[in-house]
Symmetry: C2
């Protein structure tokens, strides 16, 4: 996209997603006084995005999962196509450079690696911090508040699957744990691996849909960003009592799943 | 690094860090049966790392924070030097491509963005999934179990600072929250911004120290990886009761910090 196209896209976005932008502007102005402030800004990227078939991206992500796990399988879902067309700088990006993000950082259970993988593609393909952040924010809402995984592979590679759950959060440990409880499956089961593979496919597909819309100048943020931190006094989701309440199960109920 | 150097480095690493490797091998074998398994493997990268001065990387990270926030400021700490020498593919990487990861993904409070930024550099610079994962794992241990921030800037850009805390986790929301309670500061205070800027500098510095050691063929993993999931039955830290216990404060005590 040339400079004029980029500016047109930016203006369309600014017009279309006033709600999200209000949040971003707020965050930019309240962070502190003095020095340089963290306002939204455009940036140059040579990683040119071309519209992809979301269903193909999803299927390729799914097929990569059992080798690459969550983060790099999403990257692979895009790079298998982008490295061929348009090629360019995508060809220099190692698909496995983000594999470390699996399991919420090598098993620490923090941010689900599918979102790290998707965010990497989004950040490279887009050219403005407000666009990238609005997009990963919408993706986190999709991840957290949609019954997943709904992706149906062409051929099942690991296990049949029937349970879908609402994670309520992009945090790996909680997302996986809630699914394990619903499905009565252990972490090391084929079904759990299948669930994360299909979830990765869903995230990759949703990302491709958003990037395609952006490429057409039609991306609109669906949600306000969370970091206009008025409600909680700290950067966070707005569901405090999921953790700071009496509804968090005792550790033993989880440990018992390790049959 | 040429192929022979890479293989020498790999063998040294495999010899030196048998403990970490045992964990990785375990994870590779127990994940499931059939299809392709997620074993560790080498990968090609053209992002050549050259040894950097960790103190300079830290200072540059700190100075970038107030524009770029946590994730991209760590990336900037490295790229300000690597884009000049050795240049090459580092010049094509947009420093702000990972800015979306701030605040644990645009404010969702999951994985601290400093680790996403550092992991991106590590994943691009190294060439083997076991090396990158051992390195981010050690980095997460450093982040979680060191009193931070200890970094002292050449010139204070935002606020004086005296409180250091042990996060106990790489999760942004908890890490920031524990520091806010100890320091009796709000999220929007200059002191909190200064804390995260200095923390980013610490993480960048530790990353540079590890990458320098790896470049010399001397990197040794200090900790076993967490995803040999024997204890908890799920990919996670091993401190279940930090959340699944009676010691999680009620939401109201946090909300009251939003003065």
């Amino acid at each position: 996209m040339d400079k004029q196209q980029a500016e047109n896209s930016r203006r369309k976005f600014l017009t279309a997603s006033g709600q999200a932008m209000a949040g971003i502007a707020l965050a930019s102005t309240v962070i502190g006084s003095g020095v340089r402030e963290a306002e939204a800004y455009g940036y140059k990227t040579g990683f040119e995005y071309v519209k992809l078939d979301p269903a193909k991206v999803a299927q390729t992500t799914y097929e990569n999962y059992f080798k690459r796990w969550c983060a790099s399988s999403v990257v692979a879902g895009f790079l298998e196509y982008l490295q061929k067309n348009p090629g360019g700088q995508w060809k220099d990006l190692p698909i496995d450079a983000m594999r470390w993000a699996h399991g919420g950082l090598a098993g620490w259970g923090a941010l689900c690696g599918t979102l790290t993988g998707a965010g990497t593609v989004i950040g490279l393909a887009t050219n403005d911090t407000d666009i990238a952040e609005a997009m990963v924010n919408d993706l986190a809402f999709y991840y957290a508040y949609t019954e997943l995984p709904s992706f149906q592979p062409k051929k099942v590679l690991k296990s049949k699957l029937s349970d879908m759950t609402i994670a309520g959060t992009p945090v790996c440990h909680i997302s996986v744990g809630r699914w394990m409880r619903a499905a009565d499956e252990t972490f090391l089961s084929d079904a759990r691996a299948e669930r994360c593979a299909r979830l990765a496919a869903n995230i990759a597909q949703e990302t491709a849909i958003m990037l395609n819309a952006w490429k057409e100048g039609k991306f609109k943020a669906k949600h306000k960003v969370l970091y206009n931190v008025i409600a909680n006094g700290i950067t966070s989701q707005h569901n405090c009592r999921d953790c700071h309440g009496n509804n968090v199960p005792a550790a033993e109920t989880y440990i018992s799943l390790d049959k």
